[in-house]
Amino acid sequence: MVEFLQFTLSGIVFGMIYAAVALIWRGTRLLNYAQGGMAMFTTYVAIEVIYRTGSYWAGFVVALAAGIVLGAAFQLTVIRPTMNKPPLNGVIVTIGLLTLLEGLAGILFGGQYRSFPAAFSVTGLKIGTTPLGVSRFDVFTAAAVLVTTLALAVAFKYTTAGLRMRAAAFNATIARLSGIRVARVLTVGWALAGLIGALAGVLVSPSTFLYPNSMDTIFVFGFTAAVIGGLDSPVGAVVGGLLLGIALSYVGGYLGSDLTAVVALGVLVVVLMIRPGGLFSATRVRRV
């Protein structure tokens, strides 16, 4: 029972992080391999700050700020020139950025596994004498990702800035002709991707260890969740993320973590066979 609760909670936490990655994708419409790299790099920055200042929260804040700066800087310097080129060009640049960040992290911070401190006690909470298998840090993490993901989903759907971002991502030409400064909107989208990545990195790393490739799978599963849920649906991003997160957590917990990638692929294939547009896709698939 305790195990089940643990796996479920951890599944929700990872699921919400996948959902956040899937949501962010809507802001830029670019399969952004660099997002995992930025998350990893900013988490290293957090470790260094925590180590030097002794304050967890200083590291937390610096990491988030670094995420914003890194995201915006990448967009302005190397992504913007690919804007009027075929979309694949931008994707290739993000792969380059990922390689760069991972190499740089190895040089600056070393390639060995580092443990990342948690903000609160990680000893399990108890009701009376019954252990819940859940720590205060787990609760903090769950609350933080829940609030962030819901805030993102709501902002995308209901605010003018969110609409501007979606319009720019879905149809840049119409957006520009309507007066939306698309280049600027995409910079904000990247800054947001950096911020969410940094938050995910700081929250996940206490339970996974940190190394230059440690964020890769999280972001791969994030994209997987986006496809499962339906690329144009915010509800789909959240549901797809949760579904995948919980499923993978059970698989990893009960069957062994070697199987998670296989199961993720299996789920993806099955969903795409039944609903090619994803579970919550609104636009019907055009058959040619």
Partner: protein, 270 residues
Amino acid sequence: MSSAAEVAPAGADESSTLVLEGLVAGYGGVIALDGVSLSAGAAAITAVLGANGAGKTTLLRAVSGMIRPRRGRVLLGGADLAGRNPEQMVRAGIAHVPEGQGVIAELTVEENLRVGMMSWRGALRGPAVPARAGPARAANSRAERTAALDEAYERFKPLADRRRKLAATLSGGERQMLVIARALLARPRVLLLDEPSLGLAPRVMTQVMDLVVQLSRENGLTIVLVEQNARAALAIADHGVVLNLGRVVASADARTLAADVTLRHHYLGF
């Protein structure tokens, strides 16, 4: 070539007159527009006609800033706007409805319309365009936006019933209605329409053409209409310009053009 003053009815708003002078534009090594001059008057419809590849779409793209003209001037109310990007052009009062029923399919009808008001925020940079006659530019308040939306729904009633539906679910005629409604929400002086009748059923096409006439007569918009269907365009236009290989080969009163048999056979295909 007749001037804007002759084309536009008496009392037309001079600040809404669009004048192109020697516009040259192209893609890479290809010159698609080779020194085009024309004048489109306020409250009048100027039809731009010609065969495929004559430069009609390129002309609109150069005016709205989607491509940067290599030479020439784009004058709105006397202010030269050539070289501005689309975000600035729409703020200056030039709205472009590109070819192909350009709704944002993934957004709802209402969201598409709200996108139309995005140019209300943010100032126009560079040379000022003379203020237009009539009411001042909309204030940027929530109430103003709601009022503008209501006005759009009032005019385009079928859209009101579908405001929460995705634009992807609309019919061809409704889509065309939505893109025109969206362009109007930018409160333009000049409306550039690229093949608004393309792919529409004849009855729907007639409705769209009637709407274009209404926008010009009642709203006093300067309309530049690019059409493959020259007969239908000349039937509603005040003035016609015929392009061939990026140059103006004829420019005259719409009725005169429609009566010119040689021209029709050579360039207009009817």
